[in-house]
Amino acid sequence: MAIGVKVVARPSGIAQDMYVSAVVKGLGVTMRHFFENLFGKKHIVTVQYPEERAVYPKRYRGLHRLMTRDDGSVRCVACMCCPTACPAHCITIVAEETGNGAEKRPAIFEIDELRCVVCGLCVEACPCDAIRMDTGIHAPPVEHRGDAVLGKLDLLAHTGKSEAHQGGLGGEWRGAPPVRTG
């Protein structure tokens, strides 16, 4: 099927060519805003950031954080789903054995916040509710690029307990009765 093309008649004529009416109309708009903002009622929408904060929506994606179990150990099992899903390749995980029933945990968990495109796919990919982006804070500015690479401890600094199913059982989650989903 051919693409439908709608031909829009180009406005022409001397008035159009001289731009005068458009210029006058445009100046009318800008001057109205200028004078109203200067003398009359204010339309100003600026939020003065450090003093005033915009209210973020509930699902705002901020700095990443890693969640913990009841026993305080990191929930991440180093399954590598998040680096696999990450379109920016900003997550680096090196796994290690835990020696307990959970078997696997990240020895290294790094996120390069400068590379991160804040898409949230890592959160979607995580099968354990181990990574979240609900801190509500922005990635902090850094002096050196290396400082933007957050390690496991940095990410655990904003931690909270996860309230997801399977949560809080640590390596013993296998012993619990199965949870019906869906």
Binding site: C79, M80, C81, T84, E103, R174, P177, P178
Partner: protein, 531 residues
């Protein structure tokens, strides 16, 4: 009185049957599963393996055969003439789905932390056939986890679906009964046979055949996710057998070797030692050229080497070229061409010393060099071995030794003699030879080059480049060619492919060799499961 011999017509070697309404003709003795595959119909299975016997324990390959009241396991049913097989009727599919659900009842479904995830047959079949949450609301049966079965393998009995493939690998490939099943029903577990540990030299094949993540390799465990790996077909450099392998690499590093089926050489298997040869790629590599102990630009080192060779020749000394059996046919062909035809040098063949202990009737050979046969071909009749080299060194017959490869198992006396003469070595690893050499040139290893190896049977097999050589390392043939060009020898071949063609036309033993087609770089996540 003996009855008269009836003249029976010779039974035909092939059988024709109908699978899903299509006629297919296969060899007699084939099972229905293979016949269906030959015709292009995939039948799911767990316990069957083309290289092993069929116990028909998983019941995942059930098909309907006309005239049979019950569904039959296709892996266990030999084909017969005029057989009518239906592989995808509602009855068959329901049975298979139910079998899969049954298999999954006690499976922990811990795919995120399972090393098999991404190449798991159970995972693949679940995604294809089922895709529903579990209907079971009783606790799963708990079984031992992280069980140390032997020096190479860890077992997670919960993940095991009791297909017995691993037991059969030990029995039928390694011919050692080291694994067995214990208990019954849903408490049945895999375990080592009484008084045994899983320590046969083919134990890691159990990990390959395991359709789930029950058996994991201690070496590969938790290192890398399967779907991140890229696969490159190559040949194991561990011994003269030349088992076909896939190099699995990611992030510029090889993570494991797995066997690639080749009915003429290794079938579906390879030995544990061969699997670990990838570790050589990162051990003590020579990453830059050296003159004595001083690092030097490659160009300068090559110039110096050529100057030394030229000088020795002008002074009437004898040059010896050592063909290392770790190098490819192309490397050795060029080195021999330069050595014999141009330099009139004495040629010796060297390599890692043979290990008579490792030889068995299965795959392992005593010669731990991948290309000894090739070195013998290119060294021609005149080539000596290590004993001859040792004698020549001790008698002071040589003025300069130019070694392709650093493996020279010489005696103390011969090493001492080497100190007195010029030594040029194209080396991959640092060892006592490179420590004492006058010129060390960095050479790439097998996974970093394209080329061919000749195995003990005389088969010429292609190896492919999977990784970048570390530092400034170059393939042997490039180093040899660079030295030769400075000696005034014309080496026209622009690449290793041209060198191969030249070798093929000049060397009668290589006349049947094939370079093979270019292989696209495949990531394992887009390949099929390997279970």
């Amino acid at each position: 009185m003996t009855p008269p011999e009836t003249q029976l017509p010779a039974a035909p070697a092939t059988v024709t049957l109908t699978i899903d309404g299509r006629q297919v003709t296969v060899q007699k003795g084939t099972n229905v599963l293979e016949a269906a595959r030959a015709q292009g119909t995939d039948i799911s299975y767990f316990c069957y393996h083309p290289g092993l016997s069929s116990p028909a324990v998983c019941r995942q390959c059930l098909v309907e055969v006309a005239g049979q009241p019950k569904l039959v396991p296709s892996c266990y049913t030999p084909v017969a003439d005029n057989m009518v097989v239906i592989t995808a009727s509602e009855r068959v599919l329901t049975a298979r789905r139910q079998m899969l659900e049954f298999t999954l009842v006690n499976h922990p479904v811990d795919c995120p932390i399972c090393d098999k995830a991404g190449e798991c047959t159970l995972q693949k079949l679940y995604m294809e056939w089922d895709g529903h949450p579990s209907r079971s609301d009783v606790n799963k049966v708990h079984k031992p986890k992280v069980v140390d079965l032997g020096p190479t393998i860890v077992l997670d009995a919960e993940r095991c679906i009791l297909c017995t493939r691993c037991i059969r690998v030990c029995d039928e490939v390694a011919h050692q009964h080291q694994l067995t099943m214990a208990f019954r029903g849903d408490h049945e577990i895999l375990t080592t046979a009484p008084g045994q540990v899983l320590d046969n030299p083919y134990s890691l094949n159990t990990v390959d055949v395991c359709p789930v993540g029950a058996l994991t390799s201690k070496d590969f465990r938790f290192k890398m996710r399967a779907w991140e790996l890229y696969t490159v077909p190559s040949v194991c450099p561990g011994c003269a057998t030349g088992c076909n392998v896939e190099i699995h690499h990611a992030q510029g590093q090889a993570w494991r070797l797995v066997p690639r089926p080749n009915p003429d050489i290794n079938k579906f298997w390879m030995c544990d030692e061969g699997r670990l040869t990838y570790k050589e790629l990162t051990r003590d590599r020579v990453v830059g050229a050296r003159l004595g102990d001083d690092p030097a630009p490659l160009e300068k080192a090559i110039n110096y080497a050529a100057e030394r060779i030229e000088q020795v020749r002008q002074e009437g000394g004898t040059v010896a070229v050592v063909l290392g059996a770790q190098a490819t046919n192309e490397d050795l062909y060029l080195a021999a061409r330069v050595a014999i035809d141009v330099l009139s040098a004495r040629v010796f063949i060297a390599g890692r010393p043979a290990v008579p202990d490792r030889v068995d009737e299965i795959l392992r050979s005593a010669d731990v060099n991948p290309n000894s046969a090739g070195a013998k071909i290119f060294g021609r009749a005149a080539a000596g071995g290590i004993p001859e080299l040792e004698r020549a060194l001790q008698n002071g017959e040589l003025s300069l030794v130019w070694a392709i490869g650093e493996d020279l198992p010489l005696s103390e006396e011969a090493f001492a003699a080497l100190d007195d003469i010029e030594m040029i070595v194209q080396a991959s690893h640092e060892d006592e030879l490179t420590a004492g050499a006058d010129v060390v040139l960095p050479a790439a290893m097998w996974a970093e080059v394209d080329g061919t190896f000749t195995n003990v049977q005389g088969l010429v097999q292609r190896i492919r480049r999977a990784l970048d050589a570390p530092g400034g390392a170059k393939p042997h043939w490039e180093l040899t060619a660079a030295i030769a060009r400075r000696l005034g020898v014309s080496v026209d071949e622009p690449n290793v492919r041209a060198l191969f063609n030249e070798m093929k036309s000049k060397v009668p033993e290589m006349a049947g060799a094939e370079w093979g087609r270019p292989q696209p770089l495949v990531q394992l996540r887009f390949a099929n499961s390997r279970g």
